[in-house]
Symmetry: C2
Subunit: 376 residues, 2 copies
Amino acid sequence: MRKQNTAELIIASSENDSNMLYATRFFAPDPFIFLKIPPKKFAVMNDLELDRAKSRIKTCEVVSFSELAAKYGRGGTQPFSSADAAAVLLKKYRVNTVEVPVNFPIQYADALRKKGFRITPRPNPFFKQRAIKKRGEIAEITQTLRATEEALSRAISVIKNSDILGGRLYHEGSLLTADIIKRTIHVALIEQDCLPDHTIVAPGVQGSEPHNEGSGPLFADSPIVIDVFPRSMTSHYYADITRTVVRGKASPKLRKMYAAVQGAQEIAFRMIRAGVDGKKVHAAVTKYFEKQGFKTGIRKGRLQGFTHSTGHGLGLDVHESTRISPRSEILKAGNVVTVEPGLYYPDIGGVRLEDLVVVTQNGCRNLTKLGKCLEL
Amino acid sequence: MRKQNTAELIIASSENDSNMLYATRFFAPDPFIFLKIPPKKFAVMNDLELDRAKSRIKTCEVVSFSELAAKYGRGGTQPFSSADAAAVLLKKYRVNTVEVPVNFPIQYADALRKKGFRITPRPNPFFKQRAIKKRGEIAEITQTLRATEEALSRAISVIKNSDILGGRLYHEGSLLTADIIKRTIHVALIEQDCLPDHTIVAPGVQGSEPHNEGSGPLFADSPIVIDVFPRSMTSHYYADITRTVVRGKASPKLRKMYAAVQGAQEIAFRMIRAGVDGKKVHAAVTKYFEKQGFKTGIRKGRLQGFTHSTGHGLGLDVHESTRISPRSEILKAGNVVTVEPGLYYPDIGGVRLEDLVVVTQNGCRNLTKLGKCLEL
């Protein structure tokens, strides 16, 4: 007996769903259908996208949603849905078992199950090969990274050239704020066709919350965490860098934190290679911080120390497989991951350094070229 | 007997899911949990966001995911998931019936159903009140719209001031391309803290595909469709405008198309008011185009004419309820909708004009101030 064929189904917008973009390489704002019934692949498109899809999607047979609706719909008494359209093709090819991403919408899952299909969510990553970047993908990521470095350089240069007056920074006579630095970064990114995400420019104690985007005036002699992670508007690949800088003089405690974070990065760089468990890298970084006297835990009701993972995969999503975290995940050659240890204390602020590396058989290659310097 | 309480549950990132943003007004890149067990509301956050969420989310009790995991997890033998965390709270308040958005991930739906909860997708819009914009929301949309108009004005001014040479446009001595115009728009948007989406600058016949983003050189005497729909990086509200322009002289056929599209917009403006069915507005626009001699249908294998809906709601999503389309949907006071008739013919190109209006009891108020002029 022949093994029952299993289909793969995604119903999503490729602008918001990176698996859809990976499957079709077609960037569209509205949801459409990707269906793989091996060896065939289909993209079911509405009229608005049909012609564009036909000329752009190379890997799939492009099917008209409205033609399916006209042929198989019940004449407008009940709307013909994306689930109905998928069901038509599944029935035609006599496939009953369908694997979907874990974020597959309950609406379509319920509708297809009601029709008798067996719908199973396949654990992340839906496409395992997405975590193994091909040469062209690494080139795309590197291109976004270069644009990001240029943007970050401009921002650092504005901070470096600012005047210090009463503990605050001034740029061209005006108070220098996190918003001005963000705008500097964003203009530089857009000029290079990269779309900024919610860039972090977190001055002083704001930097002690790793996801605080930061606002207000910048201060002298105080850490500023700058984390930039844009997406290319052409390739749609992300990059991600963080630098921490001080305009003026860093306190001894802050210098010690910075040195520890740099040391932690070095440990990770040395350990990362194909076959290593990310969990071990993360454990080594955690242990190193402890040894350097930087404790992690809740103090006065707030979590402090090294409060996040060491790194995450990056590609068509800013956060994707493979992670370097307390969870066991074996690194593979071709993984592109961030290495971003950080220390966060509410009385001092945050220090985070983040580079992007590609995992190789014998180690890792740092894709990031931008230097690291605490004091400006 | 007391009526069984029904909970509302969202598990999503508020950056990617506008219902989550609407429910919590907390902008976060990673998924978290919103759970309403009337009259209580909870936001379950991971450690990274916990402190920031506690200080920012006013409407929910902020709960620590890791505290729930420590108390109710099975000691690491099985990972404690978002579904587990939601289940803890649902059990605590003895709620069995849960309504979720239609895009609720199958992964969590299956996990909760396995635990015996009754999970029902609630049809869109999940929050009906989202379609009725409050005064503050209309102000936010208008602010994004003003930034968009400024960006579009700059683009139109570059085209207007371009030189014509051999049928092509030149700007400061270089060939003027769609990409240069897009970059002009994007820099203007970013300077105003708005994030561009995939802006459309579609020259000539490219404009006959409504979602073709456009590329390559701009031509004289030929239509250029410019559609800009950014999101504010501060309020996260969208705006949406389209203008069609010609540098040089438009052909009589193109001028007739433009006049028809303007006429169609006027018809929609006159019909739109609280209580009117969007379907009727769309039908009137469709009929008007037919009467003007602009046919819609498939010709030589390609759909042409008026190939999309008349308008869509806009707010925290660029496309949201209420639509002005072939589907019956009653307009209500406070709806903010686009009015964007268009005509598309592969031999000529596209013409689309799009304004943003707010529906009132007696009609509609056009929020868009930017003028309309075909020939530059």
